[in-house]
């Protein structure tokens, strides 16, 4: 059976990557002065850190234990 969720995750990831690229591109390319460039860097590292934290915590989710708790309590 076709698993829809990896495809959905990939589509969301590509859309988010495009969104992030657009913010960084606009700040670097069209921002006047030093501040927009520094902010683009801050945005990049912040996004990377939050995405890494999301993936790390998502990998720690014990779905089996959660389902057991929900259906046997």
């Amino acid at each position: 059976m076709f698993n829809f969720f990896p495809l959905l995750f990939a589509i969301i990831l590509i859309a988010y990557a495009w969104y992030s690229f657009s913010i960084i591109y606009h700040l670097i390319r069209f921002g006047i002065g030093k501040h927009p460039k520094v902010l683009a860097l801050v945005f990049f590292f912040g996004s990377f850190l939050l995405f890494a934290l999301f993936l790390f915590s998502y990998n720690r989710v014990d779905w089996k234990q959660m389902l057991e708790f929900l259906f046997h309590s």
Binding site: S22, H26, R29, G33, P36, L39, F43, L50, S57, M66
Partner: protein, 174 residues
């Protein structure tokens, strides 16, 4: 792939040997208010965590709770920086030749208006309200000669100083 090549200008469509005198944008309060709101919204799940952490069922759902919290922060972070981008790209550039108003309406959606210094007829400053007086921001209206066209820049910091700068440049230019 010209979008990846470096720009030699300090702003879009800068003329050769044109000197940038002033770059200004709306008062910082216009950026800080949404950012503080986002910060407040970001803390809500953390406050919920403080109230549920002592519950017996919390340990079962804690990993899922934190992963959703980080996803929520990622979305807020991205939306906040979209606002930062819009704030920084909506600006007014005063050069030794002209006044340029840049409007960034969204991704790849940009509008630019310009007025040559020698066509400026009158500049007026409007500061309305106690907050504007206290934080020193206001609107600048530039009337150009020969046309009915008006340039209105809203919520700029130090509007009197900007007006003086433009007037001095206009005197110099002729």
């Amino acid at each position: 792939m010209s979008i990846f090549s470096a720009s030699t200008n300090s702003f879009r469509r800068e003329a050769p040997e044109e000197k940038t005198i002033l770059v200004t944008r709306k008062h910082e309060i216009n950026l800080l208010m949404p950012l503080y709101t986002a910060l407040g919204i970001a803390l809500i799940p953390f406050l919920i965590y403080l109230s549920i952490k002592s519950q017996s069922w919390y340990y079962v759902f804690s990993a899922l709770y934190w992963s959703l919290y980080f996803l929520y922060l990622l979305v807020l972070w991205s939306l906040a920086f979209y606002n930062v981008m819009i704030y920084f790209l909506n600006n007014v550039v005063v050069t030794d030749r002209r006044v340029i108003e840049n409007h960034q309406r969204g991704f790849f959606n940009h509008e630019s208006n310009e007025l040559e210094l020698d066509k400026i007829q009158d500049i007026s400053v409007k500061i309305a309200g106690s907050v504007a007086h206290f934080l020193d921001f206001g609107d600048i209206e530039i009337q150009s000669a020969g046309t009915d066209r008006k340039f209105i820049f809203t919520r700029l910091p130090n509007p009197e100083k900007i007006k003086e700068t433009i007037m001095q440049l206009k005197m110099k230019s002729g």
